[in-house]
Symmetry: C2
Subunit: 251 residues, 2 copies
DNA sequence: GAATAACGTTCGTATTTACGAACGTTATTC
DNA sequence: GAATAACGTTCGTAAATACGAACGTTATTC
C-alpha cells in the first residue's frame, strides 16, 4: 500500500531505509557524498536525515574518517527480530553442524517478493566457494532454496506471485512455469529441491523447506559440480534432513 | 547536529527510528494505534510511514492479527553491523564461556550519551536473575560496566559528558563526581570495576573494559549479594580477565 | 441489539521538508 | 602554488508531508 500523494511510498521513510541498506552493503563505511550517489538523492536532502540518524546511534559517524556506518542500536533491532522469530540464531547453530558434517557451504534464505533473499551463510572450509551474498536476492525458479519454499505453496499462489517469464540464467533452468510445477510436485514427493547448475554453471545445490515461527525458510547446501557424486548427494541430504528435524522440533 | 528548521532533528526520520524502537521492545507485535501512542504521533501521520516500512520488509505486517513487528531485513542490518564491527558474536561466545565458568549472569554494554546501553546478556542457569533488559540504559556512575568504560576516558571527558548531579538509585552509589573520579582511578589500577549494590539492592557486579574494533565495551558479571563472597569474587574476576584477553587478542 | 468505543482509512489545508544554487573548506591536479 | 575539483554546509522557495476532522468498519459495552 502507499500514500495517496506519493504512489511509491513515503519518501523520507524510503530514504531512511535506503541509507540503512547502503550502509549495510559496505565494509568500512560511506561518506555523505557516496550515500547520495547510491540512494539517488541530493546531498541537501540527505544532510538532515543522516545527521538525525547519527545522533540517535542507529548510524555511527567516524569523525576522523568522515564516514557513516551501521550503528550499535541497529544491531539491537536485529536481535529483537531474533527474539520474536523464535531464534534465527538456532538456524546458525544447525548450519554449522551441516557444514561440519558434509564439508560444503550451507545457506539460509526466504522468499521476498518472489525472489530468494539470502539471510545467512556458513562457508565451506574448502577453497572453492560461492559468490552469493547475504542480503542479495536471486530468482526463485532456478535456485534450490526457491524451489524448496515454493513446494509448500499452492499452485495458484506460485502462478500469480512468481514473475513470468523467468529471468534467464544458465540454460539448464526451466523455461516455462508448467515445467516448474512438475519439479515442485517432485519436491513435495521426495522432500528435497535441486538446482542442477541452473543458477550458475558448475554449482549444484540441494535444499529443504523448513517452517519455523510461522515463516517458511529454505536451507541449502551448494557443491561444486566436480565433487558432486551420489555419495556427496547422500551426505548432503542426510545432513539437511537432520537439520530440518532438529529445527522444526525445537520451535 | 540538527536541521535548521527543526532543532530536534528530522521529524520523519525520528519517527521511523521510534517505530523501530517501539517494535523492538515488544514480543508479539503492535497495532498501528499502539505504535501511535508509544511514538506520540497521530495515526494519520504514521499511516503512510508504517505502510512504507511494511512494504519494504524492514517491518512485517501480520494480516491475521493486524500487528506490525520487526522484519527480516532489519535482522540483516544487524548482521551487517556484526560484520563491520569485527564480530560482536565473538563477544557472545566469550560470554557463554564466562557463564559456564562462574555460573552467574554475564552482560555486555557500551556508553551511549553518558549512560550504559545493554547490548547482550547470557543468563545464569540459577533461578534468581536480573531484571535488566537488552536495549535499555542505566546511569553510568553506579554500574560496573559504566565505571569500567569511564576508566578508559580522560578526566576532562568524564566531567563534561556525564550528566551531573547523578541520578539517585540505592544510596550505596557515589553522590559526587569527585568520588567517582577516585573510584575510576582505582579501576585503572586494578583492572576491575565494581558496583556494590549501587544500582539495585542485593546485586553485586564486577566489570572489565574491553577495546575492540575501535570501540570501548564493558563486560560484567552480576551476582546476588547473598552468594557473593571472596571465593565467588575471585572466580568472577578470573573468568572476566580470561574473556578480555581472548577478545582483545583476536581483534 | 442499540449505543458506544476504538480501529484503520481518507481528505484538505497548514506546516514542514526538499533541493538547486550558493557558500567556505579541504583534496587533487597541473 | 594557482587552479580545479569535490566535499560538507546553509539558504529561500517549490513541493511534499503533517494532522485534525471526518468517514466506514469492527469490538465492546450495557
Amino acid at each position: 500500500m502507499s500514500s495517496r500523494y506519493n504512489p511509491a511510498g513515503h519518501r523520507s521513510t524510503l530514504r531512511v531505509l535506503s541509507i540503512f541498506e547502503a550502509l549495510s552493503a559496505t565494509k568500512s563505511g560511506l561518506t555523505m557524498a557516496e550515500i547520495c550517489r547510491i540512494v539517488g538523492a541530493p546531498k541537501s536532502s540527505l544532510f538532515s536525515i543522516l545527521h538525525t540518524m547519527a545522533d540517535s546511534d542507529y548510524v555511527s559517524y567516524d569523525e576522523t574518517t568522515g564516514r557513516y556506518s551501521i550503528g550499535l542500536k541497529t544491531y539491537l533491532l536485529g536481535k529483537a527480530f531474533d527474539r520474536e522469530s523464535g531464534g534465527l540464531s538456532s538456524f546458525e547453530t544447525a548450519m554449522r553442524k551441516v557444514v561440519a558434517s558434509c564439508g560444503e557451504t550451507c545457506q539460509l534464505g526466504v522468499l521476498d517478493h518472489g525472489r530468494v533473499l539470502y539471510i545467512s551463510r556458513v562457508d565451506s572450509p574448502q577453497h572453492i566457494r560461492l559468490s552469493s551474498e547475504i542480503g542479495k536476492t536471486l530468482p526463485a525458479h532456478c535456485t534450490a532454496i526457491g524451489k524448496a519454499i515454493l513446494s509448500r505453496w499452492d499452485e495458484e499462489s506460485v502462478r500469480s506471485l512468481l514473475p513470468f517469464p523467468f529471468e534467464k540464467t544458465t540454460g539448464h533452468a526451466v523455461k516455462h512455469i508448467d515445467d516448474l510445477m512438475r519439479q515442485l510436485e517432485e519436491v513435495r514427493r521426495c522432500g528435497f529441491a535441486y538446482d542442477h547448475q541452473e543458477m550458475a554453471e558448475g554449482v549444484e545445490c540441494i535444499a529443504v523447506p523448513i517452517e519455523k515461527g510461522g515463516r517458511l525458510y529454505g536451507l541449502s547446501v551448494s557443491v561444486p559440480a566436480y565433487r558432486f557424486d551420489t555419495e556427496a548427494q547422500n551426505g548432503v541430504e542426510h545432513a539437511l534432513s537432520d537439520a530440518r528435524d532438529q529445527l522444526e522440533r525445537v520451535s
